[in-house]
């Protein structure tokens, strides 16, 4: 049964600067089905990251969500207070949003190398999220859980006792993924999860993410600017430009016959590996 995990309806978000009002997100609508991978692609300033932040309830001054709805269905089946109900994220209280994060919607941030606490061991950081959500585990259960999570992202158990600086970029990113899925969220938002990573490591990290997503039967919202990465990663794609969604569709359709001129330009500007062309 395919249900909509996420439904964004006519979302509008503005940023208020001393000089003018910037329409960061100007009325976009899209939905993500359960088990689906949806990509939001655009250059910097297109508003894609703002959309992701809004879904996580993280828009703060000088930004403001002006109008629109963000419906989230958390089919967790667990004891979460919001399980199996459809809620409008915009209408939740701060406390409710906090509980939703990680357990319902999780974020794999850009540059996880910077979001990990440099003075805490990996193990402690992985447990933080769980403790925060009131999950109590005995010492033995904690070890088991950590081992399980690390294995699911292809890391050795020893990593738990290391500090972030002892790990490579790819490994840190995988730790970030492990933390993100620790409470089995239904929607994983990956915001440029592989920028600054080498091509081979990038592939490993993405393949890890897909595998996990399958296992958890979750959905992924992938935000980025790399069209090539989108082609390899997502089922459906939304192209954003200046706050608007200029094209949405199956990824094969979009690359096969792009309708919008901006999309066409984006695809055409990618350097090819098969044919040399005049660059000017």
């Amino acid at each position: 049964m395919s249900i909509s995990i996420l439904e964004v309806n006519d979302l509008k978000i503005n940023y208020y600067t001393p000089n003018r009002v910037i329409k960061a997100v100007d009325g976009i609508s899209f939905d993500i089905q359960s088990g689906e991978r949806f990509g939001l692609v655009g250059e910097s300033g297109s508003g894609k990251s703002t959309v992701a932040m809004a879904i996580l309830g993280l828009i703060k001054q000088p930004g403001r969500v002006e109008s629109g709805e963000i419906w989230f269905t958390n089919g967790n089946g667990g004891e979460e207070p919001l399980a199996n109900t459809r809620v409008n994220i915009r209408s939740l209280s701060l406390e409710q949003i906090r509980r939703l994060r990680l357990a319902g919607v999780a974020l794999v941030p850009q540059g996880a190398m910077n979001s990990l606490n440099p003075v805490k061991k990996i193990r402690a950081q992985m447990l933080d999220g769980m403790v925060d959500h009131g999950i109590l585990l005995s010492g033995h259960e904690k070890d088991e859980r950590i081992k399980e999570l690390l294995e699911s992202v292809g890391l050795r158990q020893e990593v738990a006792n290391m500090y972030p600086h002892e790990l490579s970029g790819g490994m840190k990113q995988r730790v970030a993924i492990a933390i993100a899925i620790s409470l089995r969220p239904k929607l994983i938002i990956a915001d440029e999860p592989t920028s600054a990573l080498d091509v081979i490591v990038q592939r490993q990290v993405m393949e890890t993410l897909f595998e996990l997503q399958d296992r958890l039967q979750a959905s992924v919202l992938m935000v980025g600017h790399d069209m090539g990465l989108m082609a390899q990663s997502v089922h459906r794609l939304g192209v954003m430009y200046a706050g608007k969604l200029v094209e949405v569709g199956e990824v094969t359709d979009i690359f096969g016959h792009p309708q919008d001129s901006y999309t066409q330009r984006l695809i055409a500007s990618l350097p090819s590996l098969t044919r040399k062309s005049s660059l000017v």
């Binding site: 292809g154 081979i200 592939r203 990618l270 000017v280």
Partner: protein, 351 residues
Amino acid sequence: MNEMRELNSPALLQTRGVTKVFGGGIGKSKTTAIENFTFTIEGEPPSITALVGESGSGKSTLAQLLLGLMTPTSGEVLYLGKSLDRMDASEKQQFRRDIQIIFQDPFDVYNPVYKVDHLLTVPIEKFHLASSKSERKQLMESALVAVGLDPQELLGRYPHQLSGGQRQRIAIARVLLIRPRMIIADEPVSMVDASLRASILANLQQLNRDFRISILYITHDLATAFQISTNIVVLYRGSVVEAGDITEVIQSPKHPYTQLLIDSIPKPNPSQKWGGGATLSRTSSAADPGQGCKFADRCPHVMQACRISRPPLFKTEEHRAVACFLYNDVPQIGLEDLDTIFVSRQTTDNG
């Protein structure tokens, strides 16, 4: 086929057995960034060669060594046959005039207390490129125009007032005024907006084509490397694993690492997905590679021989060399002759 090297015209830039090791202090682990690297850049005819590698491959360290900004732990870097650390002041000046660089970070090349003019006036002054103030002004303006910039708009401004693309172009204009024989471009477009990359790379092609300057294009981005280069050298953890005609290497890579690399590039074509079988690396890549082939523990074709010694370069085709025991049925080729497998033709439009 042995190339007889002319004894009276030494190569433009050469490295001989260059090794660079970092760390190794008390209690600190050593990292070998570059190992026993021997490489020759002829300079004639001027061509664009890509040096491709991921982080940890040693490509940036190599750039620093080639420019004399860093000294090797062992081995030497030679400019026109003369070792860099045995040059006198005037030879050093000539070296600096002949070999220049485009750095990755378009912002950090500028000293923030000075206007952007400073970037251009210093080499003019130090290399005596102009004999009067008006000549200097003319030189600067024509260099800026040649890279597609408007001198009136840019001269007199401070670096933070310009965009990344403009700053990088001025850096290219600087190189143009110096008229070196060779440029080392270290990731020149990775910190520039995607929409401007093609035009900045076009500027580099222009330098090669119209001003006959050789370019060593150092990058991790195979696609842009393919677009502007004729030849490629693939580095893995400080050693050459494959080299040759770039079109051939990209279309039919022979070294397992190159195959993995090309396979992992996210192609903007949903029907060409990543191939299966990427080995998840479980160990940190900083682990000491030991005696054998550095790629051994990630290689799907690893054999006994691979763990015992480092594979030499095998010349599998006229324009291809691969450092892998899978090809040990063809003749070997020494690192010092690597440049003989390069396609030597000047880059033209539409390759």
